[in-house]
């Protein structure tokens, strides 16, 4: 194993070691909290839908796979594995977790006092600012351009703190972006479908352009063939998840403009207040 990697590994490269354990702990805690909250909500409200358990479980698993276990170790040495990890941690994981409505569940489980605190926090200026579709897209896609377009990718291979921060950013920005494009949870300041669709087009284009750049000029120290496969993976993998996101977005539009139904957002309020989970998305 080492012989093969030695060919392009550098002397000062990080040893991941104990850092691989932390994601396991975080994932188990998150799963435990989610299950407890769902159990607690089931005591008082209607049953929490099964698909949401599945979304949360698989979402957490996808995100964790990228930063722990064999894939994470492989990703450290091979750019193709790194890109697969990026798709799992920054796109698929966040999408599935957003679909599992963790915030709605948390608000239902909390004491009213704390739930009010949380909604106050959601309404606070800094959160309003970063959950706006445009800033969420800039944080997400702009962050990726920083990682692969500057020397940051090389730096994160040597510095544990930056390594961790970058991974956290990729997940958090992916989550933020997904949550501000499709509204599956309470959101105090909803923006129009037009604004969100334009933002999505530009953001998806930014992702596609970056993957072509990587295909042509991989980050420093990455062999050309790995860069090319990584670029292709980022391009087509990204497309696949973008398709799902666009589909859900359009489905929400389709439901919201039904000639006779109540709007989507008023349904959402009913979900928290009365505890009746809405059907899919």
């Amino acid at each position: 194993m080492t012989n093969h990697h030695m060919s392009h590994s550098h002397s000062g490269i990080l040893s991941l070691g104990p850092s691989l354990l932390i994601p396991v702990l975080i994932s188990l805690t998150a799963l435990g909290l989610y299950l407890y909250a769902a159990w607690s909500s089931n005591q008082r409200f209607r049953q929490w839908p099964t698909y949401r358990y599945a979304c949360f479980g698989i979402g957490v698993l996808c995100s964790a796979l990228a930063i722990t276990g064999p894939l994470a170790i492989w990703a450290h040495l091979d750019f193709r594995a790194h890109m697969l990890g990026h798709l799992l941690l920054g796109m698929l994981g966040p999408l599935l977790i957003v679909l599992s409505s963790p915030l709605t569940l948390a608000l239902r489980t909390m004491k009213v006092y704390w739930a009010r605190r949380v909604t106050q926090l959601l309404r606070s200026r800094p959160l309003l600012l970063i959950t706006h579709p445009i800033s969420a897209a800039v944080l997400n896609i702009g962050g990726l351009w920083l990682i692969y377009g500057t020397g940051l990718y090389t730096v994160m291979q040597y510095n544990m703190l930056i390594h961790t921060l970058v991974h956290f950013h990729v997940f958090a920005a992916g989550y933020l972006f997904t949550a501000s494009m499709i509204y599956t949870e309470p959101n105090p300041h909803r923006t129009s479908y037009t604004l969100r669709s334009l933002t999505m087009i530009v953001a998806f284009a930014g992702h596609g352009i970056l993957s072509k750049k990587i295909y042509a000029n991989p980050p420093e120290g990455i062999p050309l063939d790995q860069g090319q496969t990584g670029g292709l993976l980022m391009y087509y993998g990204g497309d696949l998840i973008d398709l799902v996101l666009i589909f859900i977005f359009c489905l929400q539009w389709f439901r919201s403009c039904h000639p006779t139904s109540v709007t989507h957002s008023s349904k959402r309020i009913s979900e928290i207040v009365r505890g009746e989970p809405n059907e899919l998305i």
Partner: protein
Amino acid sequence: MGNERVRIRKYNGHQYSSRNLWTGILFGFGIIAFIDEVVFHQLLHWHHFYDKSTSDIGLVSDGLFHAFSFFATIGSSFMLADLRRRDAFSLKRWVGGILLGAGSFQLYDGIIQHKVMRLHQIRYHVDILPYDLVWNFAALVLLIIGIVITMQASPKRIASEGKE
């Protein structure tokens, strides 16, 4: 019930005629981009994922168009479902829109992107003239048929026929 549906369709079809057209145009953009990518990029390998000759502007315009075409295909399918739900769907208007969208994009691609901006060509290392002629002529045919069909199903024309 049957009578009511007919009444609603006559009324709504009128009101939503431009939305029928736009739904078709968006779908046409999506379809032509899909055909371009699958047939010419992936099956024939005539031009590629990344052409080294492509300028930065080409890369950006390509990326934007790709993302837009994805959105257009899915979005217009939901718009179509919405029109049907409102009993306002006009097949003729929609098909006309598809041809308009597909034809105008192919013409734009053939004239502006291939010739004016010289981003990429249809094919390399061959005499390009016949390819260009077929490409742009096909685009023009699509566009003209699209215009004819759209005009036939225009709200004014339908209204005047209704009076007779």
